[in-house]
């Protein structure tokens, strides 16, 4: 088991290294010099030269790459070209919005998908099953930012239950923050819940067909007991995979949804940084998101190996 985890961890580090090189090289191709961009058209050459030295832009690309990565490892994301503040602080602030939003949406979608999937699978072919399949088919097709606009229209503009956007900050109280994140989280959760319900349903249908369920019923367990004790546990494996995969979609989705609700999260930070050509911010945020995705994949893999010893042999 330890060997397996070490092997996976090694490949995790390796992908992060390659990803960081890819990101660095891509941003490196950007035409134009950040220092002259920051100082405007009328800047003196020696002022630009000073700023370049201050930002470390006069070093070779390899040296800059190493100092960037070295900084990342120590939690130093560099200094924003535009705001002259540490990127790490900016990112930490924004994470306090984006991360709770993604988790809130993940929680919502699981809370919806689990009972819905079980209901549809245990009543296969019933009206309930058909309506679940129809609704989820629609839920997958709805773009979450459009659904977000509808939510704003109904719950913020017409009913006035929620504000149409903005974030009061966690200082305003936990529930005030949670309230501001509710519409965005619902919008994010809808397509994910639809996908998850369908996976839950089909995975459960598969396990309900298994011989061990028949055995469990034959030894006297009721349908409900067999479902809870045997089928659900085995049906969870594909569901976990999708959950892991969905996290990266949730993070990406959060970036778009933040724009609908004017939430001060990572997404807004990135888009501002792009328009201001604050490339060090773009670089670091993208790297952070890639790290999150790779880490989740790693954790899912390890969780599998814990649940299913056969998987340890393969990789």
């Amino acid at each position: 088991m330890l060997r397996y985890i070490l092997k996976r961890a090694l490949s995790l580090v390796l992908s992060l290294v390659v990803a960081s090189i890819l990101i660095f090289v891509t941003i490196e191709i950007v035409p134009g010099d950040p220092a002259s961009y920051m100082l405007g058209l009328n800047a003196q050459p020696d002022t630009i030269e000073n700023l370049r030295r201050e930002l470390g832009l006069d070093k070779t690309p390899v040296a800059r790459y190493l100092s960037w990565v070295g900084g990342l490892v120590q939690g130093d994301f560099g200094t924003s070209y535009t705001y002259r503040t540490p990127v790490a602080d900016m990112v930490a602030d924004r994470l306090m919005v984006s991360l709770p939003l993604a988790l809130y949406a993940l929680l919502l979608s699981t809370a919806i998908a689990f009972p819905v999937g079980v209901l549809a699978a245990t009543r296969r072919g019933s009206v309930a099953d058909w309506s679940v399949m129809g609704t989820t088919q629609l839920g997958i097709a709805i773009p979450n930012f459009w659904f977000a606009l509808l939510l704003v229209l109904v719950f913020a503009i017409n009913l006035r239950w929620f504000s149409a956007g903005g974030f009061p900050g966690w200082e305003a109280g936990f529930f005030a923050g949670l309230k501001a994140l509710t519409l965005p989280a619902v919008a994010l959760a809808l397509p994910q819940a639809s996908i998850l319900s369908r996976v839950m349903r089909s995975s459960l249908l598969d396990t309900l067909d298994e011989d061990y369920i028949r055995t469990a019923r034959a030894k006297g367990l009721s349908r409900r007991q067999a479902l809870w004790r045997h089928a659900l546990r085995n049906a969870m494996i594909p569901v976990l995979t999708i959950l892991g995969l969905q996290f990266s979609f949730l993070l990406a989705g959060a970036i778009i949804i933040e724009n609908v609700f004017f939430l001060p999260g990572l997404g807004r930070l990135v888009f501002q940084a792009i328009t201001q050509r604050d490339l060090i911010v773009v670089e670091s945020v993208v790297m952070l998101l890639v790290f999150a995705v790779v880490l989740i994949t790693f954790l899912v893999d390890v969780a599998y190996a814990l649940v299913d010893p056969r998987l340890r042999q393969q990789a």
Partner: protein, 282 residues
């Protein structure tokens, strides 16, 4: 599921989703094609006096803040959505299939390992992140959206191709081809590829619909097609500032996206059921 459905021929159960799906997709393609020669109104012409009309007999879906006809804009927007998604699937197919076939024909080799690890790596970048990076470098545009979604599609097709090709390499007809002296490349093209076309078409349909959604998302945040090219995502973004004045502006582009994606998903489901009758009960 009732007994009659289990015994029904595969095409019957499949067609119940396939036909509505194909009809929806055909409708969208038709709208896009017709928009090249005719739209009810000229989408490049501003008509301020007629701005922000609600749906009526002249302007079926109403008009926007410049007095442009929403129905016409949706027809033209279909071109952008379809073109971006089709080309992105094309990139995924053209790069992903050769990679997957190569990896499968050299299973366990260093090249196989590199291709698979490379796939995992690209998989860690959601399409939106790729788009953000490309935009940061080259600026926003439809071409960059195509590239971003296309790159995202590559590992999807490479994995599917490798996975299904691996089992085919164990089959007797491949062994026979090897005995007759055919090389790995020829076997991959002549024997493996034709046997996985079904799977690739189904996955292609799914990626097509994901591409439509991704394109809409990218143009919504301003990373996709730029003005004056009409696009559904940007129409939604523009509608947002006017949502209290003219909520209908936000509705129709959304319906267009949903119908297209729904049509493609139904088509994909139907095709999958046709190619694999075992799952049609589900």
């Amino acid at each position: 599921m009732s007994q009659s459905n289990v015994n029904a021929p595969a095409w019957y159960t499949a067609s119940r989703v396939l036909i509505p799906g194909l009809l929806l997709v055909a409708l969208v393609i038709l709208a896009a094609l017709v928009s090249f020669v005719w739209t009810p109104f000229d989408v490049t012409k501003l008509n301020i006096p007629a701005k922000l009309q609600t749906p009526n007999t002249t302007h079926w879906f109403g008009t926007d803040h410049f007095g442009r006809d929403i129905f016409s804009m949706i027809m033209v927007g279909a071109r952008t959505s379809l073109a971006v998604a089709v080309l992105a699937v094309g990139i995924g197919l053209c790069v992903g299939i050769p990679l997957g076939l190569t990896a499968a024909s050299m299973q366990g080799s260093l090249l196989d390992e590199i291709i698979m690890r490379g796939n995992d790596l690209v998989f860690a970048f959601p399409a939106l992140l790729i788009a953000i990076m490309i935009t940061a470098v080259f600026g926003p545009g439809a071409v960059n959206a195509i590239i971003a979604i296309g790159i995202f599609n590559i590992p999807v097709f490479a994995r599917l191709t490798r996975g299904s090709a691996l089992s085919l390499w164990q089959r007797d007809f491949v062994l026979a081809a090897r005995v007759s002296g055919k090389g790995a490349t020829r076997i991959s093209i002549e024997h493996i590829l034709p046997n996985i076309t079904n799977l690739l078409i189904v996955q292609g349909t799914i990626q097509f619909s994901l591409g439509i959604l991704a394109e809409a998302g990218l143009s919504y945040v301003g990373l996709g097609a730029q003005p004056p090219t009409p696009s559904w995502g940007r129409m939604l973004a523009e509608s947002q500032t006017l949502i209290t004045l003219a909520p209908h502006l936000a509705l129709f582009p959304g319906f267009a996206i949903i119908l297209t994606v729904l049509g493609l998903n139904l088509t994909g489901d139907g095709l999958r059921d046709l190619s694999d009758p075992r799952i049609r009960r589900r």
